[in-house]
Amino acid sequence: MHNFTLAELINGLRSNKFSSVELTQHFLNRIKELNGDYNAIITTTASQALESAISADQRLANGNAPEMCGIPILHKDIFCTNGVRTSCGSKMLDNFIPPYNATVVENFENDGAVMLGKTNMDEFAMGSSNETSFYGPVHNPWALDCVPGGSSGGSAAAISARLAPGATATDTGGSIRQPAALCGISGLKPTYGRVSRWGMIAFASSLDQAGPMARTAEDCAILLNAMASFDEKDSTSVNEPIPNYRSKLDNPINGLKIGIPREYFSEGLHSGTEQAVRNSLVELQNLGAKLIDIKLPSSHLSVPAYYVIAPAEASANLSRFDGVKYGYRCKEPKDLEDLYRRSRSEGFGEEVQRRIMIGTYCLSAGYYDAYYGKAQQVRKLIQQDFSDAFKSVDLIMGPTCPSPAFKFGAKGNDPVAMYLEDIYTIATNLAGLPGMSIPCGQVDGKPVGLQIIGNYFNEERILNVAHQFQQSTDWHNHMPSELA
C-alpha cells in the first residue's frame, strides 16, 4: 500500500480496496518499524490517527467525502496541533502543547485527513540539513550517512521512505524545495499568502510559506487543494480565487516558454547536478517547450539580503520564548534577567542563537540602514528581476540546490557554506513567488531536483508542467535502494 501515490490511495479508498483504518494502520506499522532508521518523525499520534480513520471510513461510506478524507499524512512539527505537542524542533518547546490548530491542520482535519504524527525539522526551521533539531538529525533514506536537507527534512525523508503518502512543510528560504530535491520527492512552495500562516510558528514572517510534499506533482496538487485558503486570521493571507489545482494537470505544454537564468548555472554548481538539470530541460523541449536564456542580475545579492531580513524578523519573532509564559524555563532563576538569559541560552540551540544575534545586530541603532534598510532595497531589485523576466517567459527553471545530499557534519562548522545551499531557492522567497522542486535525475545514486519558479499565484501552471514532466519520465518513481 505504501507504494501507491496519494492519488491512487484516494481511488483505492473509494473502490474499497482498503479502508482508511487499514491504510492508517499500515503506515503506523511502517513508522514504528522504520522511523528509527531515519528519525523523520518526532511524535506519532497512533490512537488519535486510528480514531480519525474510523470517522473517515464512516464519512467515505456516506459518500461525497472530500478527496483527502481518510488519507494519512504527516505535519511538520512547526504547525500547531490542538492537544499534540508542537516542538518546532526545539528544546524550548519540548513541553509545548497548543490549545489550537494551525489553519493548515484545521483544513486537513475538516477534509477528514488522518494525522499520523509530527515530523522532525531544523530547530525553528533554521537550517538546511536538519542537523539543528533538538531531536537529532534526520537520515536521508537514499544514503543514511547523508543529510535529508532542511528545514523540512523530516517531512521529505518520511515521504521518500514511504512512511506517509503526503506531508506538510514550510519554506522560508528553500526549506521545502531543497529537502525535496535531496530526498528525491516533489515539494511546492506556494505564492506568499496562498496558504494561511495562522498557527504556523513564525521564523521570518515575510518569507514563511507552507506547502505540500509528496512523491508526485499530482499529489502535491491534491494536498494544495486542501491546504490553500483565504484566512482572516492571517492579515497577509491573500483573497485570490483558489482553482482546483488538479484540473489543468493534463494540459499539453507545447509552446511553453521556459526562462533559464544564466546565474543559476554558474560557479559552485555540481557538474552532475548541472547535467541532470540540463537533461531534464531537453526532455521538456521534447514536450514542446521553448528554452529562453534570461538574466536575473541581482541573484548574487539574494543570500546576503536573506541573511539580514530573515534573522532580523526571527530575532523579534523568537522574543516571545522568554521562559515566562510557556516553553522552557531555566531552573531556579536568580532574578528576571537571569530567567531570560538562562532560559534562552539553555532553550535555544546554537544556530538559533546565532541568527537571533545576527538579526539583533542588523536592527541595532546605527546599523539598521546599512543592513536591514539595504536588504529591503535588494529585495525590491530581486522582485524587479523576476517581474522583468516574467514579461517574456512563463516559468523559470534551474537546479533546486547546488549539489546532492552531503554527509553529516560536512558543512556543520561553516555556516556560510550551509547558507549557500539555498542560493537558488532564496530569491523566490524574497520575491514571494511560488517555486517547486521535482526529481529530475541522480548523481552517485542520490537524487537531483529541478526547480520550477512561476509568477504570482501561478501554482497551477507549475503543477501542470511538473506533472507533464513526470508523465514522460520516471525519476519520481525511483526509490532508495534500501527500500526497493
Binding site: C80, W198, A202, K233, D234, S235, T236, A316, A365, Y368
Partner: protein
C-alpha cells in the same frame, strides 16, 4: 535670574473599542486577572494579529478633530524589549509612518485669550499588560495580568509649546474634552484611560535654545501632572542655580508621597530596534473612509462653545465650561430648551447641580436630578412661583427622590405669595407695627435708606412665612415708605 518653563506632552489615550487592537478579547476594565487574554494576547506560538478597524477609525477621528493630516498609508512597527507584561517581547506600534500627522489643539488661557498647541503626530499602538508585585500573590513572586495587553491606544505627541503647568493642564483637559466628545475614549482617568508623560525643561527667560529635558512618565490625573511639573521645574531651577546640570532622564512621580525620582538607568537604556511588522499590512485610508468619518464626527467642544455663546448668549467662561464635556453640554441644552431660560439653566447646571454631583462623587450621566426635573424647577423660578431660596429646598427634595418640582412645591406649600392685595396688607401691617423703624427710615439720608429697608423685609418675609415674592414686596414697601417721607 528669571526662568522660562518649556513643556511637551505625550498622552496615551485608551480607545473605547469593544475588543483589543489585534485580537477579539474584550477590553472591559476590572475583570479578574488574565480572564480577558486569548492566545494572541498571550503571544502563543503561531498566533497572528488582525487589526481592529474600529481602532483605526477612532485614531482617524481624533486626527480630524484636531485638524491634522491623516496619512494615507501608515505602518505598524515592532518595538523590541523584554518585559514580563509584554508577551511578544515587542510592542506593536507606529514610528516612521504614524496614522495622524501634524495638527493643533487650541487651549484657553487664564487671561481669557487662547493659544494653539501644535501636535507633532499621533500614532496607534497596543497597551502592555500589568506586572503585579503585591496583593493576592505569594511573597517573592511577581504576577502578570494580561487583560490590558493589546488594548488599543493612540499616543498623542505635542510640540514643546507649553510654558507653564497651567497650560499643560489646560492642554490635557482639552484633549480629554475632545476624545470624550467624539466618543473615542471613556475618559476614565482613574482606570488609566488617559495617561500623561511630561517632558519638562527650563531656560533663562528670553533664550531661544531649549534646556535639557527630563521626562516624567505615566501620570494619570491632572492634579498629579500639575504637581509633578511644578516639582520638576523647581528641581531643575534649583539644580542649575546651584551650579549643577540637568541630566536627561526618565523620572517617576509618586502622587501619594509627592516625591519624584529617576528610573534606574538600566530600565531606560534601550535600543528598541524598531522595524516594520511583517505580520500586518500597511494601513491604507481611502478618501471615502475619510469623508465618512468626517461627516460622522460629532460637534467638537470649540464649535459647541462658540455656538453656546451665540445661541444662548452665554459668557465665554460659561460656554467653555459647559461645552467641554458632552454630557454636561447635552444636559444644559436640554434644560435650556425646555425652560427657554439659558442663563438660569447655565447657572444651575454649573452651580448647584455640579457642586452637589461633585460632593457626592457622581457625574452628570448618573445625576439623580434629570434635565426635565431641573427644567421643571427653573420654570417655577422664572414664573415667580417660588423664590431662589425656596428653589434650593425644592432642588434638595428632587435630589432625594421626592418627586418633581411641582409636586414638591404643592406638598410643602412653598408657593410664593404674589397676590398684590395680600402683599400690600402684610406690608401695611408691618409698617404700622414698627413706628420706630419708620421714623428711623424717614430721618436717614437717602443713601442709607436702602439698607434700612432690610429690617422691614425680614419682618415681612417672616410674616408671610417666607412665601412673599421678594421683588414685589420690595416695590410695594418702597412705595409705602416713600409716601411717609
Amino acid at each position: 535670574m528669571s526662568w522660562e518653563t518649556v513643556i511637551g506632552l505625550e498622552v496615551h489615550v485608551q480607545l473605547a473599542t469593544k475588543t483589543k487592537i489585534f485580537s477579539g478579547s474584550s477590553t472591559r476594565f476590572g475583570a479578574s486577572p488574565n480572564t480577558q487574554a486569548c492566545a494572541i494576547d498571550l503571544a502563543m506560538p503561531g498566533t497572528l494579529p488582525v487589526l481592529n478597524k474600529q481602532a483605526v477609525n477612532y485614531a482617524i477621528m481624533f486626527g480630524l478633530a484636531i485638524d491634522a493630516e491623516i496619512e494615507q498609508k501608515s505602518v505598524f512597527e515592532r518595538k523590541n524589549y523584554f518585559y514580563p507584561d509584554l508577551p511578544k517581547g515587542y510592542q506593536t506600534t507606529q514610528l516612521e509612518k504614524p496614522i495622524v500627522g501634524p495638527g493643533r489643539v487650541v487651549i484657553p488661557l487664564a487671561d481669557g485669550t487662547t493659544k494653539a498647541i501644535r501636535i507633532h503626530h499621533a500614532h496607534l499602538e497596543e497597551d502592555a499588560g500589568k506586572s503585579i508585585h503585591d496583593g493576592d500573590i505569594p511573597i517573592g513572586v511577581s504576577g502578570v495580568d494580561l487583560n490590558r495587553a493589546g488594548t488599543p491606544l493612540i499616543e498623542i505627541v505635542s510640540e514643546p509649546d507649553m510654558r507653564s503647568s497651567d497650560e499643560a493642564v489646560a492642554f490635557a483637559k482639552k484633549l480629554h474634552s475632545i476624545v470624550t466628545s467624539i466618543g473615542i475614549c471613556d475618559g476614565e482617568m482613574s482606570q488609566g484611560s488617559m495617561r500623561f508623560d511630561v517632558n519638562v525643561s527650563v531656560r533663562p527667560s528670553g533664550s531661544s535654545a531649549l534646556g535639557i529635558r527630563t521626562e516624567t512618565k505615566n501620570l494619570n490625573s491632572f492634579k498629579f501632572m500639575e504637581e509633578a511639573i511644578q516639582l520638576e521645574v523647581d528641581r531643575q531651577i534649583d539644580l542649575i542655580e546651584d551650579g549643577g546640570k540637568v541630566t536627561q532622564e526618565t523620572r517617576l512621580y509618586n502622587g501619594d508621597t509627592k516625591i519624584s525620582k529617576p528610573m534606574r538607568s538600566k530600565e531606560e537604556a534601550n535600543d528598541y530596534r524598531y522595524f516594520p511588522c511583517p505580520d500586518l499590512l500597511p494601513v491604507i485610508v481611502s478618501d471615502q473612509t475619510l469623508d465618512e468619518l468626517r461627516s460622522s464626527l460629532p460637534e467638537l467642544p470649540d464649535a459647541r462653545k462658540s455656538r453656546f455663546t451665540q445661541q444662548y448668549l452665554l459668557s465665554d467662561y460659561d460656554a467653555e465650561i459647559l461645552a467641554s464635556d458632552t454630557s454636561n453640554a447635552e444636559f444644559f441644552e436640554s434644560v435650556a430648551e425646555k425652560t427657554k431660560n439659558p442663563k438660569l439653566a447655565a447657572n444651575w447646571v454649573m452651580g448647584d447641580l455640579t457642586a452637589r454631583l461633585n460632593m457626592e462623587n457622581k457625574n452628570i450621566s448618573n445625576s439623580p436630578v434629570s434635565s426635565s426635573q431641573l427644567a421643571g424647577l427653573i420654570l417655577r423660578i422664572s414664573d415667580n412661583t417660588i423664590s431662589s431660596k425656596m428653589a434650593k429646598q425644592v432642588f434638595d427634595a428632587i435630589w432625594l427622590g421626592e418627586g418633581n418640582a411641582d409636586e414638591i412645591i404643592e406638598a410643602r406649600g412653598l408657593k410664593q405669595l404674589s397676590d398684590s392685595g395680600s402683599l400690600e396688607k402684610i406690608v401695611t401691617e408691618v409698617i404700622e407695627a414698627n413706628p420706630a423703624m419708620v421714623t428711623d427710615y424717614v430721618n436717614s439720608d437717602e443713601s442709607k435708606r436702602k439698607k434700612k429697608m432690610g429690617g422691614f423685609m425680614g419682618q415681612i418675609m417672616k410674616a408671610s412665612r417666607g412665601q412673599a415674592n421678594p421683588q414685589q414686596v420690595n416695590q410695594i414697601l418702597l412705595e409705602k415708605l416713600n409716601e411717609l417721607i
